[in-house]
């Protein structure tokens, strides 16, 4: 069977921060491949470096050493400005606390990333409506976040993440602020999007139920990856 090409390729990444004269290693000689279309779970205890790894994959930070390839592009060598433009087109973010702009409607929140692209108003509208339909919120597009439930707000967040048709969706604890029922609905939605749109999803989570949805789960401990083939085994370990 032909191996799926890797959407994310990390080779020999080191990341350290300097505090005074002390060097703090956050990630050590880390290498990772995420094939196209995979739903990868990323778990680890507090301080293990999950957020740092997330920042590197999402183009929000650069490694101290090593290479980070996403979608065939070496993002670890890009300039700030180019990274920002790249991020808009290739990365879709879903946050734990939704982080919707309260003064904008659901429609306008979803439209936000598209404002940075050279699209006509009609094209933006088409893409926003498509995204809202995919998450089942086309009837709530004129509502502001304050008028939506937690689950609905997260759906808007997901719509915003997919509206630019990104290469990779990064979900940081997407169910962390939701009740059990809403959390299941969100995870179902992510799974459906992955199947129907063939998206690659990186899910950072502490939630065992969420991790169970992943094809594969990797563990981060003290800046190094401990990988498990089977998501269920990892869940049992957690």
């Amino acid at each position: 069977m032909e191996a799926a090409k890797s959407i994310v390729r990390i080779r020999g990444v080191h990341k350290y921060f300097t505090r005074g004269s002390e060097q703090v290693d956050v990630l050590k000689d880390l290498s990772l491949d995420v094939p196209e279309g995979e739903f990868l779970g990323l778990m680890g205890p507090s301080g293990s470096g999950k957020t740092t790894l997330l920042n590197l994959i999402a183009g929000l930070d650069r490694p101290s050493e090593g290479e980070v390839w996403v979608g065939g592009q070496l993002i670890s060598r890009m300039s700030e400005g180019r990274l920002a433009r790249w991020r808009t087109r290739h990365i879709g973010f879903v946050f734990q606390f939704y982080h919707l702009l309260p003064v904008l409607t659901a429609y306008e929140n979803v439209e936000l990333p598209l404002l940075l692209l050279p699209l006509s108003g009609a094209e933006r509208k088409r893409q926003v409506l498509t995204a809202l339909e995919l998450v089942g919120l086309e009837n709530r597009m004129r509502h502001r976040p304050g008028q939506l439930s937690g689950g609905q707000q997260q759906r808007v967040g997901i719509a915003r993440a997919i509206v630019t048709d990104p290469t990779l969706i990064v979900a940081d604890e997407p169910t962390g602020d939701l009740d059990a029922k809403s959390a299941e609905e969100i995870l179902d939605l992510l799974g459906e999007l992955r199947r129907s749109l063939e998206k690659t999803i990186l899910l950072v989570t502490h939630d065992a139920r969420a991790a169970r949805r992943a094809d594969r789960v990797v563990h981060l401990e003290k800046g190094q990856l401990v990988e498990n083939e089977d998501a269920d085994e990892d869940v049992r370990m957690a």
Binding site: K50, T51, E80, F95, V103, L104, L112
Partner: protein, 415 residues
């Protein structure tokens, strides 16, 4: 346009704060507009012109001037003696008659200072009256004609009329204060168009001069004490500075004006000299009051924008994560401040212009012999400029802070 919409919506985040900031801006722009209008007008009248100047001839060593009326004829000709001498294109004389309507009480509201002058000179020598057009010009000509036909006719500004509770058609008696024992019974035949002369009064100079002659007749030929001091000012209209220099030379070297000696200066120089006693006040208005207000305005806007940026650091971090670059975040914040500043400044300037000029009929702030001031059309630009500049200055630091927001804040906090 799409960024503008984002800016407008961000201002709706806290409507009360936005409105209060806008209101503070409007009030401060209002004050600066009033002050600058006064300074602008005074700068205009004290600015030396090179063409179509007005010159004033006054007594050299005394204020107020008290020259004999015998000086009038020759001064109005610029003291021209030789055929090639320079002459003014027009001229006018002023005699100040101070009187009261009630000699027993002598209350402030009964006190009137009238300019005694040739009625026809109203239309050719008085600032703004010489520029009237249409119905206002016709009405002025009509009043001039009435004053020429009836020497006892008097013309009054609207504010003056209101103050003494009289109307056009009424008769008043002015009991002389500086012209003791000279009482002038006058009929109010008209009023000045609204504006600069709202507080002024004009009588026919022949009426005053005839009264002085009449005094002598009634007192066995003894002249009234003011007869030799009745001429206070002579206005000359001069085409250019070169002609002014010649006329000034002619007047100051003429043997006709030995006692009292006279001086000839441009109107702007004369006004500057007259404003000398207000120099400190005007300096304070220009260099202390206005800068203090502008600084306060910048701080008001800075405070509001700082709070707004601090409140939504998370949102700004999200925008950065979504791909907004630092300079775009900076522009968003600057845009919010500019929108408040420009809109508030413009509205305030427009409202000030309308209320002061159209509703109040001028800002009553007597400086020297200028009883009131109007807001010039330039003020619209001032309001816009003040609003924009103070918004930019005030929001510079918060906007810079916005672009340095850390994206790590948006990710989950591990518990």
């Amino acid at each position: 346009m799409k960024f503008c919409l984002l800016i407008v919506k961000n201002l709706r985040r806290n409507v009360l704060r936005t409105l209060l900031t806008a209101l503070g801006t409007m009030v401060l722009v209002f004050v600066v507009t009033l002050v600058w209008s006064i300074l602008f007008f005074l700068d205009e009248v004290t600015r030396e012109k090179s063409h179509n100047l007005k010159a004033i001839v006054t007594e050299r060593w005394q204020i107020p001037s008290q020259m004999p009326f015998a000086y009038a004829q020759t001064l109005c000709e610029g003291a021209a003696r030789q055929p090639g001498d320079a002459r003014p294109t027009d001229s006018a004389t002023w005699q100040f008659f101070a009187g009261t309507l009630d000699p027993a009480k002598r209350a402030a509201e009964d006190f009137i200072v009238a300019f005694a002058m040739e009625p026809r000179k109203l239309a050719t020598m008085m600032d703004e009256l010489e520029d009237l057009k249409g119905a206002q010009a016709a009405e002025l000509q009509d009043n001039i004609h009435r004053m020429e036909l009836q020497k006892s006719a008097i013309l009054m500004g609207r504010d003056r009329l209101a103050k003494i509770n009289k109307r056009v058609g009424d008769t008043i008696t002015l009991h002389g204060i500086n012209y003791r024992d000279i009482n002038l019974e006058c009929e109010i035949v008209g009023s000045f168009p609204p504006g600069r002369y709202d507080a002024n009064t004009v009588i026919n100079r022949d009426y005053l001069n005839d009264a002085l002659d009449d005094y002598a007749r009634k007192h066995n030929g003894k002249q009234h004490a003011m007869t030799s001091k009745t001429l206070n000012l002579v206005w000359l209209k001069i085409p250019d500075k070169e002609t002014f220099s010649k006329i000034a030379q002619q007047i100051t070297t003429s043997p006709l004006y030995a006692s009292p000696a006279v001086k000839c200066e441009t109107l702007s120089s004369g006004v500057t000299s007259f404003l000398e006693s207000y120099r400190d006040l005007l300096w304070g208005m220009r260099w202390v009051l206005c800068p203090a207000i502008l600084v306060t305005l910048s701080l008001v806007i800075s405070n509001a924008i700082s709070i707004s940026v601090r409140e939504r650091r998370m949102e700004l971090a999200v925008l950065k994560v979504l791909g907004f670059r630092p300079f775009q975040l900076l522009l968003l914040v600057l845009g919010e401040a500019l929108l408040i500043g420009v809109a508030s400044g413009l509205i305030s300037a427009l409202a000030t212009w309308y209320v002061v000029n159209e509703v109040m009929g001028g800002m009553k702030f007597p400086i020297a012999f200028f009883p009131s001031f109007f807001i010039p059309a330039n003020a619209i630009g001032w309001g816009l400029g003040i609003g924009a500049l103070t918004a930019l200055i005030g929001s510079a630091m918060p906007a810079w802070s916005a672009r340095t927001v850390q994206v790590s804040d948006v990710f989950s906090k591990v518990t």
